[in-house]
Symmetry: C3
Subunit: 428 residues, 3 copies
């Protein structure tokens, strides 16, 4: 069997997840987590309908078996079996025959993109509806239509899953991807895939931080997790975090800062993107977007940013049937994964050291740390890194500070810190 | 009677005030306050000569009835009756016949603008003199001239006035305009007119702050007011302030920051000017200019800025007879007034709120605050404003902070705060 | 005798010092300090070999009488008598006859500059070697060569010197120049010369600070001085400092900031360079360069910057025989000296005052401090300076702050402060 690249593996995962009809609750979420579970052991949590979670209440569980609009001849002109997008999410069951004039109030189209089907939901207001292409609607003659939505809204559970990569310390980094969107590849199957393979990559070697991956429905899932972990979070258990969304399109990477704006994750992503050859964009926090909204609510105010390629609502295909399997690419997902790995590699090593010989420079030559042949003007980066780490290791500067102030690569600075630690000249 | 615009009303007030001979004391100030009093009830204060006010002493009161230079034929070549500018302010009385060669030491002209009469004073050094056009001087043949200044310098009073618009809180905003300049339209009759109509506009609806308008002679008037209110001011009674000067010329608006540089008034004016379509200029504080010098002296260090059109000494007509009724316009004064109203409207509403549901987002949909139909990418500004106010209402950000950080109009942010307050989600 | 300019005097000093063979210890340093001592009384310190100084140990003393490579005919093809650069600094004694093939490992050249001789040392690793022009090496036929280095490495002393210009306060400013480089004119004979004449200039009038000049070998000398003054330094005795190096080439001035980045010396040099007509460069601190490395180590973290013309390793002639007497100029050294004098003149006068009449402006006219003739729009700089000093003398702003914020020349601000002090309106 030919080896497959991480990009291809992630793409294959997206392909498997694509047909499933996900929503904020229900069997589509469970099926999604089952597929992810083939790559990564998951702790799946089921939270009963009616549970109070912060200001919210876990809603009834929604499941759907079939839905269609059939014309007078019985032909299904809109059919849920063809695409999970065709039904307004959380539609209540309906079975009726209506003239088109009355049906129209329940039909959602995108006139500006007549061949695309929009994605619409009505989570907290009982409603039913169909989403279809404007072209389809235009081709529907007046007359009676049979509409049927075979769904159930009933007490049940909200489902989410966690996967933990244990680290050397209990301080946590959370990585979150929402799992509530139906057949939309970039939003957020690509994010799920990148998170899955990131977790696997981090486990290759015990990381410094403990990394907690969260696969949960948007908004209510993050709120549920925060409600169930509120005490732990308030005590500072979560040090950093990253929300992954829209991680697979061909656009350049976009990092959205945390509410704090200069949290550790913000500094790390800026550094990694800044020192890479990639084009990229960094945007300020806004309280709109994905689950960073919840993690960065003022009571928690976590250092959680969000990494996307083309961000939230930033492309015409967003929340339409055009966000399909062609819209994402293995290469783009591999690139997102690479930046995540690099960022967490920096985050994991960014620590403050204290120079144990802070008065004057310690004599590096006698410790074999420094070329003893003086007078040469071609100082090497590695030597410079030793001097920078010694000079700034005053307990107030971390290695990332030193990399940024010196202009040296983080890896060079981290290697210098290791060497100085080994020589007993600095300590963490 | 056809309705008149605020600009026309202000211009009419400037016309009435223009001929009066104002100085730092005397009946010209009283007459000026009488005219203002036709528009606005004033509390007029009379402070006796010799009163110690901070480092200064209230000077003798100066009044003048007549003054002229007459040539050998008895013809008045310079006549105070034609313009109050012709006499050096605070001239001691004189009655003499002098050759032109001796008289020259007492004559002030503007050689670079030969047809203009300069404005000069000698408040604290006994002196006398005449100000005249260079052309007039050039036309005066050698020979004897009769000079007469029928003035009095005698114990009396310094006069200033206050008008208070009561607010919902006792914290004060002071608005100050100097009333000591004679026939100079822009400096400062326009400022007096804008202050007068601003006071009337603020009273239309009880404002949040209490607004105190101060009509006082420059320097010594502000010092007198500060001396008489020093304890109150030191205790923090004055929260914000604005000095109005040169408020009527056709140049663009100029805001001069307070000594603090980032006081509330500085932030408000920057925001209002920044978000308007007007060209404008913001300049840093300098300890030169108008009465902001006194309000921003280091002992008081009040958050008082200054709003002008073309600022202090920034136009050739400054302190000359060319600063006349043609130099100011109703439109310019109306524009200055509009910016003041907008600024105080922002200042009045800029408060900090606390999110009472700070953990995660509160569920806006169930409170009717948010469109419950999810999945749409066309988030509206009003919804965004709700999220921004919730996210930043942590007790450390005011509504102006939120408007600036979100890029949303202040009015939108303030409306969101009102709605959230009504819903019990935030409190002031 | 025609008067000589300071530039010519400094150049003459560089000429006298040029032939001496300096190293980090030995008679070359002593001879150098003897020559400097002709201009400036010095306290010469001798620190025994083996003395522990911070993390270092004072090494054995190195002295050299003769060294050469002679060819088979006995002709000296490389001769220490011609240039002190020809011997690898701290070479151990050697007396041998070797084939060129074996000798090559001990020969240092600059292939990219075939006629220049490099400067090389091996202070802390026993070694021997010769430095020569690539051209010379290319002309040496294969065969046997006699090599002889008549040096001694033996217990002795490290030598450094101090000169103190007593000030009105005991707080010190240190000025340091390294004295360990052999026949290199810019690095650092020019620095030694500028330091010498700077000390003389400062003594013309008792300065505010006490100025301590340090002539010491690079690195180990500064470390030795810091070790012997560590308690004093830790207690804050040294308020400011400047390292002088590469002070005589024709390039523009370069100021390298202290580790703190905004220390007093940093602000003063920026101001002086900023307000002069000179081109200049200001660079951020790096822990590489001259003895600022030691003064700015994190334990001491002194406010010590470094002034050069073309900086450390910034020119091809650096650490080669091309850094000769032609490479430096009297004019360049005079210019460096002038900037140092101006900077210390500002540093010496930069104090915080407190306005004793901080409520409103004091009445300057009655104190004769202010032109009493009001109404003039041509406010003079001197009057403005009075107002600025009064306005900002709140105990938190120094005169340099005031000069920078007002945009007025420091001298004007300082003169205003003197006048206000004399008038009893401010006090230090």
């Amino acid at each position: 069997m030919a080896p497959v690249s991480p990009g291809e593996e992630m793409y294959a995962l997206v392909e498997r997840l694509y047909p499933l009809c996900r929503s904020i609750t229900g069997d589509g979420v469970r099926a999604t987590l089952d597929v992810v579970g083939d790559h990564l052991p998951l702790d799946v949590h089921e939270v009963p309908t009616g549970t109070q979670v912060l200001d919210w209440t876990v809603p009834q569980e929604w499941n759907i078996r079939d839905a269609y609009i059939a014309d007078a001849s019985g032909r299904r002109v809109v059919d849920f079996a063809e695409s999970s997008l065709h039904v307004l999410g959380y539609s209540v069951p309906v079975s009726a025959t209506l003239p088109l004039s009355e049906l129209r109030a329940h039909l959602h189209t995108l006139p500006e993109h007549p061949s695309w089907v929009p994605y619409r939901t009505s989570y907290y207001r009982p409603d039913w509806g169909f989403c279809l292409a404007q072209e389809t609607l235009d081709a529907m003659p007046d007359g009676l239509y049979e509409v049927r939505i075979d769904s159930t809204l009933a007490d049940g559970h909200l489902t989410y899953a966690e996967h933990v990569v244990p680290g050397q310390v209990a301080d946590e980094v959370i990585v979150s991807a929402h799992v509530c969107h139906p057949s939309l590849a970039n939003d957020n199957l690509a994010g799920i895939a990148v998170a899955t393979f990131l977790a696997r990559a981090l486990a290759e070697r015990t990381p410094w931080y403990t990394y907690r991956f969260l696969f949960a429905p948007g908004t209510i899932g993050a709120i549920t997790w925060l409600a169930r972990n509120a005490e732990r979070v308030r005590r500072g258990a979560v040090r950093h975090g990253l929300v992954l969304a829209c991680a697979g399109d061909r656009g350049q990477l976009t990092y959205k800062r945390s509410r704090r704006g200069d949290a550790g994750i913000d500094r790390v992503l800026r550094h990694v993107l800044d020192t890479s050859e990639r084009p990229y964009r960094i945007t300020e926090f806004t309280p709109y977007g994905y689950d960073e909204r919840q993690f960065c609510s003022p009571g928690f105010d976590l250092g959680v940013g969000s990494l996307s390629r083309t961000p939230y609502a930033g492309y015409p295909e967003y929340h339409t049937s055009a966000d399909d399997l062609d819209f994402v690419s293995p290469e783009a997902m591999a690139d997102t994964l690479a930046v995540c790995r690099e960022a967490f590699s920096v985050l994991d090593r960014d620590r403050r050291y204290v120079n144990l010989s802070p008065y004057g420079e310690p004599q590096l030559g006698r410790r074999g740390l420094y070329d003893a042949l003086g007078g040469r003007s071609d100082a090497k980066q590695a030597q410079l890194a030793l001097l920078w780490v010694l000079n700034l290791s005053d307990g107030e500067h971390g290695l990332l500070d030193i990399a940024e102030r010196s202009g040296l690569p983080f890896d060079t600075v981290a290697a210098a810190a290791d060497a100085l630690c080994d020589a007993g000249l600095i300590k963490a």
